[in-house]
Symmetry: C2
């Protein structure tokens, strides 16, 4: 509609050159105070808006970053994105979001179109089906810095911000042992992802350190869905020795497990303790609040953004690789706490 006003329009009106107007607007080079103020004033009067596109083309910097996640409406991911946005907005960056739907092919596609739009950086959590890292290496070769968060792959030159999933698995299991549990089952996720592998390893290490047997029958692979938790319990209850605790790598499977256990008439935490993972909002609100591990997603996003900013600050020739590992927080609630009286919420 209304034609956008450019520095040219201002220069004409003021009978000065566009270059001068540009300088006045960016107030870096030496320029007379009087003309600068004049330019600033008339710019405002004429409702001038800088065209960031032209500026981006000229400078090669778009001031946009891309965030690639499996699904944006998952509590964890949207919280990370919130952290990224809040850290980057004050620095003039905009955040573009992309979803992979846990699909490797989409992930490649998203990276490519992001690169085409001259993105300044990419934040990503790889999808479950991602095995190869060629697409990531290509992005790097293209000169686009990349930061992994939570779900990472080993790629030289790529920074990452994760939590210590091993420690989280260890602490959670240790706490269950502390409640007197001896036969602790683990509902695991896709071991193709490091996070699930590490939670699993932390779990087994805790068992070993406490001289408890690691029984592969007690380790069930699940897919982070509620139903998956219920069927895992069914499977476990076919065993001769039933578990007396469940450490689930996901809150959803933990919930499904709890629902199934209750259906079978078991009392939680008296008969069996349960701990989940991720601190999904619902775990806190249940009448039987579920113990879980908080991954501090918002902080994770903020740190990832800071790592990116650092990277942009350096002379970008060297790709400094920074590995940040955040400490997870075990949140002990009623589902794994036998020492408190259950108070109905």
């Amino acid at each position: 509609m209304k034609d956008k006003v450019t520095i040219y329009d201002i220069s004409k009106k003021l009978n000065i050159s566009a270059a001068t107007v540009s300088r006045a607007l960016n107030n870096n080079t030496k320029i007379s105070l009087s003309t600068r103020e004049l330019v600033l004033k008339t710019a405002k009067e004429m409702n001038y808006k800088q065209n960031r596109l032209a500026q981006a083309l000229k400078s090669g910097k778009s001031n946009n970053v891309g965030v690639i996640v499996p699904y944006i409406n998952r509590s964890f991911f949207s919280s990370v994105i919130r952290g990224i946005e809040e850290e980057l907005t004050p620095h003039g960056y905009h955040v573009i979001i992309c979803q992979t739907h846990e699909n490797y092919k989409n992930e490649i596609e998203q990276i490519n179109t992001l690169i085409n739009t001259q993105i300044d950086g990419i934040f990503m959590s790889v999808s479950k089906t991602t095995i190869n890292t060629e697409h990531i290496e290509k992005a790097l070769a293209e000169g686009t810095p990349l930061v992994f968060f939570d779900r990472k792959k080993e790629v030289p030159g790529v920074s990452s911000v994760i939590i210590d999933d091993f420690k989280a698995g260890y602490l959670a299991t240790q706490q269950l042992i502390g409640q007197g549990c001896k036969r602790i089952a683990h509902l695991s996720g896709d071991l193709n992802l490091e996070i699930y592998k590490n939670r699993h390893d932390g779990y087994t290490k805790a068992l070993e350190d406490n001289n408890l047997e690691v029984d592969s029958n007690y380790i069930i692979k699940t897919n982070s869905k509620i139903e998956s938790g219920a069927s895992a319990i069914e499977e476990l209850w076919k065993l001769k020795k039933k578990p007396d605790a469940i450490f689930s790598a996901s809150d959803y499977t933990a919930l499904g497990a709890i629902q199934e256990l209750k259906k079978m008439g078991l009392k939680i935490p008296k008969d069996i303790c349960v701990t989940g993972f991720s601190n999904e909002p619902f775990t806190k609100y249940m009448e039987l609040p579920i113990s879980t591990v908080d991954q501090t997603p918002q902080t994770m996003g903020k740190i990832a953004a800071q790592v990116f900013l650092e990277q942009m600050g350096e002379n970008k020739k060297v790709s400094i690789e920074k590995k940040v590992v955040l400490t997870p927080e075990l949140i002990i609630r009623e589902s794994s706490n036998r020492s408190i009286k259950p108070v109905s919420a």
Copy 2:
């Protein structure tokens, strides 16, 4: 790092003009099949990536849209964004996200910087503190199409996609009446927002239609927080005639109310029925699942995107104004259903 390859590089290598390369790449104008294939082939070989920034500057179309919401990590908003992303990505658009933190000043700021980046359109849910609509009118005057979703303001020429909050309030209240409830309290939100006003109005209309008195003492303003729901109950219980049902405009206040009611020893739904709003994930997972209203956020996002696409298709001179009203779905769960036996989940 590696220098980006341009159409110029291709043209040099092939001894043809850059214009021809451009045409071949966009395969619209008449061009010989042989050269087009040659260009396409060598483009791939040279790992050519189209610079969408330059293209955007040239065409005046950035292929980016902005989405402005209070907080991105709220289930409702992230689901709407998911819908928008999924509808727009196939059309080559990227989605930029902005948060207002329910702050009017931030909202203005966000709109302005979005316009500076030559965004092609804006989707937004206004913040609670937004009264004035000048900033929105300015965006329109600038030529940027805008689509409201859920939380809208009356601005001429702006399309919107919302749910029928009046109907939702009416249906929810009606259902409570159907359970035999006669003294239904309403935990309302900020009436500055149309959505809360409409839920409120639907509530009162249902009462009137059933010859039940509308008692202003039964209408408590809350802020969508859990604690707010608890204190609302405290306040209501100071009344001589206690309510026998609660229709809350938010799931969080409904949850707070339920917690407080249980603390006081009341049985839900026997002694009192409760219905919330938004279908937050936790309402489904509770041991006492909470009745609520589903706003079909993902669909809302998809429709909003479609309205935008239509708008872009038309000759953009006329700002067609489209008002879409989606039908909410009342989800009746145990907290307001006296006819089913409570089955512990």
